[in-house]
């Protein structure tokens, strides 16, 4: 479904992503692990089209997307939920969600169906329909950010560090919801995490990024027992 072939990305002349190749199939649930500054966010931004790779190619469902503008990529069903609970702080919950449905604007029935689906996933959002998003707690903001990303029924969702800075209980809840999105909604999910423990428990396989290079990949059972991963990311 998504294929990266020898992708290189630089920001301001500085090489951040070096020679990354990976492939994710339809319906898969894959983790991207790496410490701070490993290049996880840059890689996601490259896939989503916010940054353009200076070498290599990104293809989505067989179509090269590395030269497309972001909104064209979103229309194809590849949606990034950016790091740091990005919201429209002055707009209400409802309006934040409606903006998530921008690629399918005009299809009222579908939007209503998706809205109901998001409210079913996160009942707390329904209680706060008219509250401004900026007044939310961290966990609620993350729920809204994920809900918004689901509003356009993406075929593939890129989740950039959804657990960062959240209480363990909330992380558990978010992890459950993400698994649910993958299994029951049949959405392919690519999850970037520093919290390797959480990520490896819910995903099927993973890639490990270090200084912009893909140093390791394999299924989760294998990664969990890998000495390097244990030392660097799980701390055991």
């Amino acid at each position: 479904m998504l294929k990266l072939n020898q992708v290189h990305t630089a920001i301001g002349g500085l090489q951040i992503i070096q020679n990354v190749s990976l492939e994710i199939g339809k319906g898969e649930f894959v983790a991207l692990l790496g410490s701070n500054g490993a290049g996880k966010t840059t890689l996601f931004r490259t896939i989503a089209g916010v940054l353009k790779p200076h070498a290599g190619s990104v293809t989505f469902e067989g179509v090269p997307i590395d030269r497309l503008p972001v909104h064209k990529i979103v229309e194809r069903g590849l949606v990034l939920c950016p790091q740091g609970r990005q919201l429209f702080p002055e707009l209400s919950v409802q309006k934040n969600l409606l903006l998530g449905a921008y690629p399918i604007r005009g299809e009222k029935k579908r939007i209503q169906k998706n809205l109901d689906r998001v409210y079913a996933l996160f009942p707390i959002l329904r209680e706060r329909i008219n509250q401004k998003a900026g007044t939310f707690s961290g966990g609620e903001q993350q729920m809204l950010a994920i809900g918004r990303a689901l509003m356009s029924e993406p075929k593939m969702l890129l989740l950039d560090e959804p657990s960062v800075g959240l209480a363990p209980l909330i992380v558990k809840l978010i992890a459950d919801v993400i698994s649910n999105i993958n299994q029951e909604m049949d959405t392919t999910v690519f999850l970037s995490e520093q919290n390797a423990n959480m990520a490896l428990n819910i995903t099927q396989r993973g890639y490990v990024l270090e200084s912009g290079r893909c140093v390791l990949d394999g299924d989760c059972q294998h990664l969990k027992t890998d000495e390097k991963v244990r030392k660097a990311y799980i701390g055991a």
């Binding site: 979103v74 903006l99 921008y102 690629p103």
Partner: protein, 328 residues
């Protein structure tokens, strides 16, 4: 969708009736003229609010586009073209210039966009003062014909020579502008303007074509500003470079900020209240500006949403107080 409380609706209705009946109780021609100017400024300020308030792009070229409309109507009507053709043509020229300026300017963000548009505004002002063959230089253009009468079915011929008729013409345009902006801002497309103001990178990630959306907001604002400028030229009968100057931009900006940024009513309230306050402070001469500077600072610190924001806060307090009273 939250519907407005009934007393707000009643207030709007009362304001509408007061505006319709204004010629009956306006004290003298001088005040009447100020009111007519305020209506025109309200049109231009509402348009500026679209790009600055709702979309969050600080365009400081607004006066220049007002000027393009004013000079456009002046030059075209002096050449014998009907006002009713000259007005839309001038506005379309302003929109076209808006596209040409917007495409490079909107690639910059934040302060840089403000600087680029301010430069364009100053250039247009210099151009208006020095391209003597076209604009008459610093003397400007005199003897611009007033809007020509129109013949409407059933109503017969309507003339625009009296102040009252010109007032209704301007008011009609203001209502049309507000209606159009209201429809736009409360649509899904209008939501994208606010999304860009709130978080532009996220708006991008959500799938909004942010550049095109900003360009549409910019060009629409310029089109409406030029309409206001065209009406201005025709009603005053003369234009000079001051009608295209950056000082005009800053006046509009003050109207928006004091009235209430990113609120439809704020721009109108600002455009009416401030010229009238200015009139009352006439005796202070140039020291009026000192007073205004202080007022602006106070408003920005304590009422970042201007007069309308202040009223809304008051409204909320009253609602809370009422609720407490009921629960007691």
């Amino acid at each position: 969708m939250i519907t407005k409380p009934i007393h707000t609706r009643l207030m709007y209705l009362a304001l509408f009736i007061a505006a319709l009946l204004l010629p009956l109780y306006v004290p003298d021609d001088y005040i009447f003229q100020i009111v007519i100017m305020s209506v025109l400024y309200a049109i231009a300020t509402s348009a500026m609010n679209l790009i600055i308030g709702f979309t969050g792009q600080a365009s400081l070229a607004h006066g220049a586009f007002f000027g393009i409309g004013a000079y456009g109507v002046a030059i075209l009507t002096k050449a014998g073209i009907s006002f009713w053709v000259a007005l839309p043509v001038s506005a379309l020229i302003a929109a076209l210039v808006g596209v040409l300026v917007g495409i490079p300017a909107l690639r910059t963000r934040g302060h840089y966009f403000a600087i680029v548009t301010l430069c364009f505004g100053v250039i247009m002002w210099i151009l208006a003062g020095n391209w003597i063959e076209l604009t008459g230089g610093h003397n400007g253009i005199f003897g611009i014909p007033q809007p020509t009468p129109v013949r409407l079915p059933w109503l017969g011929e309507i003339e625009f020579f009296s102040q009252t008729a010109q007032y209704y013409l301007a008011l009609g345009f203001l209502l049309l502008t507000l209606f159009g902006l209201h429809r736009l801002i409360f649509s899904v497309f209008g939501l994208t303007f606010m999304a860009i103001r709130n978080n532009e990178p996220l708006a991008d990630a959500v799938g909004i074509n942010t550049f095109t959306t900003k360009l549409i907001a910019f060009v629409s604002a310029n089109f409406i500003a030029a309409l206001a400028g065209g009406l201005y030229a025709s009603m005053i009968g003369a234009v000079s470079p001051s009608a295209a100057s950056h000082m005009l931009t800053f006046n509009f900006l003050i109207f928006v900020i004091l009235g209430g940024i990113a609120t439809l009513s704020g721009a109108v309230i600002g455009a009416f209240a401030i010229p009238i306050i200015m009139e009352f402070l006439q005796f202070l001469g140039d020291y009026r500006m000192l007073f205004f500077g202080a007022l602006l600072v106070v408003v920005i610190i304590f009422f970042p949403q201007g007069l309308v924001g202040g009223l809304r806060r008051l409204n909320q307090r009253i609602a809370v107080w009422r609720q407490n009273k009921v629960s007691e």
